[in-house]
Symmetry: C2
Subunit: 760 residues, 2 copies
Amino acid sequence: MVAGFRHSTPGPSDQYNQLHEYELTATGNLYNSVPEPGKKYTDGSSIDWLQEEAAERERSHALHSQAGVRGALLPALDSARMWIVVIATGIGIGLAGAWLDVLVKWLGDIREGRCAYGFFYNSVACCSGLDAGEFCVEWQTWSQYFHIKSMFASSFLQAFVYISLAVIFGGTSAFLVENYAPYAFHTGIPEIKAILSGYVFDAFLSPWTLLIKALGLALAVASGLSLGKEGPLVHVACCMAYLFSRMFKQFRHNEASKRRVLAAAAAAGVSVAFGSPLGGVLFGLEELDAFASETDVMWQGFVASAIAAVALQWVNPFGTAKLVLFQACYLNFPSVTALSDTWRAFELIPWISLGVIGGVLGSLIIRLNVEIAIYRRQSAVGEWPVLEVVFASGVTAALSYLVVFGRVQTSELVANLFQECDPTKGDYHGLCNKYSPNATKENIFLLVLTAFIKVVLTAWTFGMMVPAGIFLPTIGIGACLGRAVGLVMQSIYRSHPTAWFFQSCPPDPSVRCISPGFYAIIGAASMLGGVTRMTISLVVILFELTGALSHVLPIMISVMTAKWVGDALGKDGIYTVWIAMRRYPWLPPVHYRDQGETAAHVMRSVSDLVVIKDGVTTVRELLDTLRQHDYHGFPVIDKHGEYVGYTTRDSLQLAIDEIHFTEGAYGLEDKICTFSKNYMLVSASNRIDMSSTLETTIIQLRKEVSQEMLVSMFQKMNPRQIIFTHAGKLTGMVTKRDIVDLLTQHFPHAASLAREPPPT
Amino acid sequence: MVAGFRHSTPGPSDQYNQLHEYELTATGNLYNSVPEPGKKYTDGSSIDWLQEEAAERERSHALHSQAGVRGALLPALDSARMWIVVIATGIGIGLAGAWLDVLVKWLGDIREGRCAYGFFYNSVACCSGLDAGEFCVEWQTWSQYFHIKSMFASSFLQAFVYISLAVIFGGTSAFLVENYAPYAFHTGIPEIKAILSGYVFDAFLSPWTLLIKALGLALAVASGLSLGKEGPLVHVACCMAYLFSRMFKQFRHNEASKRRVLAAAAAAGVSVAFGSPLGGVLFGLEELDAFASETDVMWQGFVASAIAAVALQWVNPFGTAKLVLFQACYLNFPSVTALSDTWRAFELIPWISLGVIGGVLGSLIIRLNVEIAIYRRQSAVGEWPVLEVVFASGVTAALSYLVVFGRVQTSELVANLFQECDPTKGDYHGLCNKYSPNATKENIFLLVLTAFIKVVLTAWTFGMMVPAGIFLPTIGIGACLGRAVGLVMQSIYRSHPTAWFFQSCPPDPSVRCISPGFYAIIGAASMLGGVTRMTISLVVILFELTGALSHVLPIMISVMTAKWVGDALGKDGIYTVWIAMRRYPWLPPVHYRDQGETAAHVMRSVSDLVVIKDGVTTVRELLDTLRQHDYHGFPVIDKHGEYVGYTTRDSLQLAIDEIHFTEGAYGLEDKICTFSKNYMLVSASNRIDMSSTLETTIIQLRKEVSQEMLVSMFQKMNPRQIIFTHAGKLTGMVTKRDIVDLLTQHFPHAASLAREPPPT
């Protein structure tokens, strides 16, 4: 009957999906309760923030206006539910992060050997409880375990197990991702950014994606592929928040509230990834632009972030009572302030050089990564994602095994590179061999080689069918290069300790003047700056990671240099580039400066718009329009072209269905739709009143406004569309999508990885 | 001649000021160069951000479109100038802060004695260079200096010098402020908040204010009045940034660019005040709402903040190589992580209680402060500001001298209260007397008494005619109460070490289970939360101050509790209350929720508006309108009431002056003003074309939008006014002032301290 109206609308596949989704959520009793229009969005569309805020306002108003105790209690309950979700997510992601660390450590270790106590101990747990100086015999390499004495056979066995397990881990991860949760691949941050800004992509946050992403991430990291766990952990945290938020109607029914919780979860994800609760909040602020100017949401992010860090610390996955591995690096020093004198003005030259290197190399990684991603999409490689991962794991493992610095996990490598040489501690692969110039040369060569290999592998890996973060490999590359520059400086100093350049160093060359470990931190900061183009959150994360609070100024200078140099070679960070390639409707929070163009240049003029005519369009024509066009909404004008309002597909369809149900189908299709009060006098039997379908939250501008202001309006108010009128007449319309396209038009590969032409 | 038009306009005093100001800035050659309309604002008005952004856009466009090298160089120079100002401000405020610290320390010390080496050494500098265990004989109290042996005479002399110098310092400070820079009184943060959001108040940032505020602050702090230096330092930093920015045209001519630099300066001010660079940035973000969503500005704030901290550390005013006094408190512990186990779940009960106390007492201070400020304004007290300060200094000094804890400067008191008792270190006024229950009781009584006295004195002092911050006294009150609660808990534990409540404590009661020093931190956090209603920046400032990173969770919980309790007793923090009392046009960044009202309820309807009629109004009528009304701008409508545009007083006046200059005065007053293209056909000799005076950046809405959305539009886009139209017809207008009044209407004393009815 009524359904006939809907099922008989064969339209573009997208429209079909929309209706399908729509039916699912109406749960069969569409006609008993009248759902509010515009409440549901299909995946792939953008929410209208103004609309959602208005809905939230109505709901909150309804709660507050309840009589008596209910009126006082319900709003409190509302806020309590939000905190439950935020706190549960914080605890959840803290525990998940800790569990992942334990799993990764164990998986990584069994590539080299096993524990005699039991198979499920990792090397640290296996050797714990020893006194200082005791040697750990319980941890056996595979050749020890199989009692292989021959040097050649032992090396071969070790390499074979190492590489095979890498391939198995990588392949399993890719297999899981491809078959069970394709959205679990890649970092997830571009999607989270888009979702937080209003993109609807619920499938991306499903429980199944959560599980596969977490498991696949552990396997991928353990396989030794050149990837990190940071971005994926943000994705996992958001999946968790989504899962918890589904328990409460207030989040299910309001996209804006849901996004507030997701923003807090994202901050918690970063907090766990780096053990950096403040860094998490600032990452949410700067990179995800998650808190807009709502300090409440920032506070929720901070709480989630702190709780996650506490949960992680409680589990204590590294057995060190510290949040992260790197923090070890400055505990050699009696106190942080002691560091404050250990850098000299001349060091600014190598540090700024590192900034320049970071900017150039970062841009190179971005470009390389884009080219590889496009090649993958266009060639046969894209058809065999699991094979690609297997191959990449093999190559990565083989290369890493040969170049010693790559053999350990990147996080361990970075921890070692950040560490200053300390005679009382062990030496890492001869990195601290102090007095042999040859060893230094060899180290510099190896470090640069490792960095070079990692650049290529990272650009290849980021985008394969496994969960993959870009942060840790970037830190690794930067740390290698930074340490290399530090070693170069150190050897120059050692050979010319009295040169004027080193005047400010202590005259005795045996006293340390250059700290190569700190150069590694600077290198890492520069590379991160070049790849992500973040600024303040990077600095905070790095000094939370390393404890180098007093060295914040050089870190800032190098990040700034890297960003400036990088921006000169291409404005966008790697996440922005991926967003543009996948054509997500996300507006970068940049200050857009036009060249004098006005909104008229980007607006769709009224002659190109599908409009509904107040008092003219019949129900039949209206249904035809709905069938032929899959736009989300339509402007309504009157006979004279005067702008009456804006209405959405969903609310129109609903209104017609409702009238059809109450008044029957007879003669309905010939009735005239009216939207304004001018038609109150027309006989009611000839018309149906659709004025209730008009949106109240439409922004109108004049087409003479500058593009700069138009973009700023979209960035700040986040509407779905803006209407242009002049002297009451509709002149045109601009949607968020148009603005997104405007802001990405400078990027050559925009939309090259988009799945399908997205809905308007 | 032409000037006749302007000078013959006797209007309200405000208009006169406006014209006066206008003449000053035109520097005599108004008619050679045509100044762009809307560029200048008088003090007391609000800028239109959209307008300023548009002007900045035009300027930047002009720079970029220069040919050749100039086109590449000028924009870079532009950005370089901004960085010069930011960096210079950072260095300047860092040095100024250090200099203030030194001055305050010396002034404070000479209240107790003098250095035998030389009059200008403070007690620390005087006694430096001693070996451990040596006793400092060079620092002499006044009775030692005058060789007074009698116990009574000695006490009397000490008290006399102490109190007289306090009165002299306080009186001098008030005298300087009242006579040379009245804007230098109070904290300055409410004004800075208003200025950053678009209020024009250049006199507040004058070099003279800078000097007097800095000097007066040092005197006021040294006088022992219950005030801190935090807010005033933010003001001083902004004055510096204003001074530096005046050197460059780009800041002089654009209010928006100027505000970006001021935002960075404010962050630097907080950074120096607390030695907390991150806290500075977050304070700018949360309390000043300074960075909107522009991460560039945040980055500038971070740079300024870090540079200021480095400059402060370089001067090293405390001789400790640390940024602040309080940091000492956790250096007893071998490492911060060792702290992580020293708090137990049952302690949440006293901590949450402290949060509740903070919330209640914070609201009490706000209310008391408001009542006192209004009484001061309404009674004769306000006429004798210097006398009031002299009296207050005397009372404060006498009370502080009697109650021992108050005798030292608040910062020193707080540092001692934050410190755990350590047998190897000195005991502070018997605070650590461990085994005498009577001493504990006495300490608790004294601490509560000190807190109570400080509550009253602080509420009185904050608003007197001296520079005064509220942060430090609030921390002091909180630290006293927190320490008292800590001592109560400790004595309960000591008398019942085996109670079930203390199960989680170690069984041996001689091992410390309760850390009263940390309770003091919690108390300080709670009080700050109650008074300022800040959240995340407080937490960050407190853990940057104390190094208690691992205790961040209890600090968060207590701040949160204090904020919730405080909000229940009145939504606004102390700065917001002062803004409301002084009626600054500042929009709190709260999520305003209406009760179903629409914009129609707050809008001024078209019948109440002074409008200009396109094609009808003559020049004479226009000049009359300008003379009679001091509105900043006027809507333009046509004969049929259709909305044509919006134009400002300045641009109208300019356009008329210009025509008058080029075409002469003859017949000018009878000409008709036209604004739209409809009148192109009317004979040019009968009309003057004013279409260029229309603003392009006007936002139009329909009066049916919810108040919530209207407020959000003002908060996010920050326009000066929004126009309402319906079907092309002007229906009304809302200005920022209307929205400010809407948001402060719940506050009973709104505008009670406003100097005069501010311009619209």
